[in-house]
Symmetry: C2
Subunit: 420 residues, 2 copies
Amino acid sequence: MNAPETPGQARGMRPGPLDTALRERAARVIPGGLWGHMRAAGLPPGYPQFFTRAEGCRLWDADGREYLDFMCSWGPIVLGHHDPEVESAAQAQRQAGDLMNGPAPVLVDLAELLTRMVAHADWTIFAKNGTDATTLCVTIARAATRRRKVLVARGAYHGAAPWCTPSLMGVTAEDRTHLLHFDYNDVASLEEAAALAGDDLAAVLVAPFRHDYGADQDLARAGFAQSVRRLCDRTGAALILDEVRTGARLDLAGSWEALDVRPDLAAWSKAIANGHALAAVTGTERLREAAASVYATGSFWCGAVAMAAGLATLRKLEAVDGVGRMREAGTRLREGLARQARAHGIGIRQTGPAQMPMLLFDDDPQAELGAAFCAEALRHGVYLHHRHNMFLSVAHRPQDIDRALEATDLAFAAVAARLG
Amino acid sequence: MNAPETPGQARGMRPGPLDTALRERAARVIPGGLWGHMRAAGLPPGYPQFFTRAEGCRLWDADGREYLDFMCSWGPIVLGHHDPEVESAAQAQRQAGDLMNGPAPVLVDLAELLTRMVAHADWTIFAKNGTDATTLCVTIARAATRRRKVLVARGAYHGAAPWCTPSLMGVTAEDRTHLLHFDYNDVASLEEAAALAGDDLAAVLVAPFRHDYGADQDLARAGFAQSVRRLCDRTGAALILDEVRTGARLDLAGSWEALDVRPDLAAWSKAIANGHALAAVTGTERLREAAASVYATGSFWCGAVAMAAGLATLRKLEAVDGVGRMREAGTRLREGLARQARAHGIGIRQTGPAQMPMLLFDDDPQAELGAAFCAEALRHGVYLHHRHNMFLSVAHRPQDIDRALEATDLAFAAVAARLG
């Protein structure tokens, strides 16, 4: 990160000239300039679209501007960019062979590690996208139960395929026929949805905590998680835990271990291979036969480099207590932000686990204060998000947090000036 | 490849001890031992499941046995394993940054290259799986037309999501509600299916030629392709060409260029990045707005290493006339096989483009002769497939084909002995 005072001041609130030129070229050959969650259009002023370099918890945009990063590529980077152990394992596998006519032995090593590490897991299947994993979980649950209905929390994100995407553009009504909704942490609404499903309930698909876009995060109450478990036990439906965003950041054994609730199936992706494209489904013995019966495949799903990266990532997270270190770094950030907000007389809400922080401002329904805050932090070299949860990595050391807090103090001052 | 006589003879018809041990471990932690198209269970006796090394057009199994490869990782390897230009570009991008908070500039370079190279393309979106690309095409077509029905050829493979997977396990009737079927190369059946769709026809999704599992391949007749185009023009439906298997092997400008037919949308994956996980959708100006309107994203879709690999792959294919070289290698193989079959008095059928060869035996509905042939070729160090089309790569030199033909001559002899 640059020192907060000098380069930040010189930056202004616009992306640099190289970023701007790339956006102009991109707008010609990519619809809307970019698709999906990495499109910068919804970000506060000044946020760059293109990046050229990343290292540890820092990244550099196309104009060479340096940022201390609190998005971690929207989750996948859990040990920091270019983690030496992960990249060395990946490179060794690449030298040997990546995508061949069948998997490499590392497939077995990684499947064994996951089934040992994840408490509920008796088996694993690998894929490429988080959406692959959630879709597979639903398909396996339907194959196992010969039923169709799936309960999901209202507003929850479980992927980008027609059956689950947040947009209805290009989606047909039939893609959603068998989805029923409940409110997260609301047992009564869960039971109502289950009653609607009747004897056709195949699965409950639920995230370990509520992490909806633009909303306060909401940790699962133990009573709610246990009610989901009991509902599934009572009806024979599969409890599917969507660990795509949470996996490898809350608890390597499974994010509901502390609540004493284990799923039948879990979907993993994002952080399990430190940025290499990998997803996984884990399941219990009861679902093994159904998992073997469904058609699941992809051209690159047996790629060995991503598996070598996954193996190194999970081993290192275990060895260095990665979850604990991220929690500590996140707590240091959260406490600092809370102190600063109080000092500036600004009301904020910090919700969810410290290692996946969400920061929203009081009386700010359109996140305008949040945007102003983040834009100012960005000017001072800190990349935050105003409406999505952020991510810590093992590469965030205490001194990185402290430097980030220098920038956020200036950002709070800017918000205070705007408010008053 | 080992010399055909000695090590081949010593091999017997069973996988090696290390492969066997890995299968036993895998069976405990992976349903059915492996999922999907790379599962060795359906292959002839002796085929290994696990591979440890690959280079050019050769690969080595877990027991160190060497094979001359005619599956090319089921398509993705188009320049040969570890192509130096591709790997050097990928490595340079990895040193800089792979998955960051937004794409790297190489995204724009690659989108520009594809829109220049592919005749119909005015824009590109990148993804990870072939299924991502076909699903996106259908979603974009529906968003553009506000209609729902999609025509697909009976028996065609277009991916592994519930709406298109060849299996019905875990799939609901509603996943297929809006699919209507026609027979490939049959204009009358195409028009019948279109009539059933009525004014709700969103798209025709079709492969450049028929390449169904276990069946003779069938090149598209020009009249059929042109009828598909006229149907789409007449109805306003989108013509989606599924180039996932064919892309980068038939014609870099699009596989129906020689038939003078251009699609509105095309799905690409497999070979476009020489084994790195990448997929793409290309489309025309008319579909741009719809493409920008749908929700399309994945955690790893902006990963820059795969894009750098894709850029290097397509540039090299263009520079060395990769398609022409694969066609020559495939033709040399095909002519040799035809000669050998005649000499041994065995009836075979070789169908489809030479660079994606399909070899089936006459009077062999269960592919038992094909399996015996392939098992014997494998014993002599040549990896073929008895029921799926095979793939050539630019790394297959004439001398590699000639060595493969030494093995296939012995394999034909074994089949002849079996026949009588």
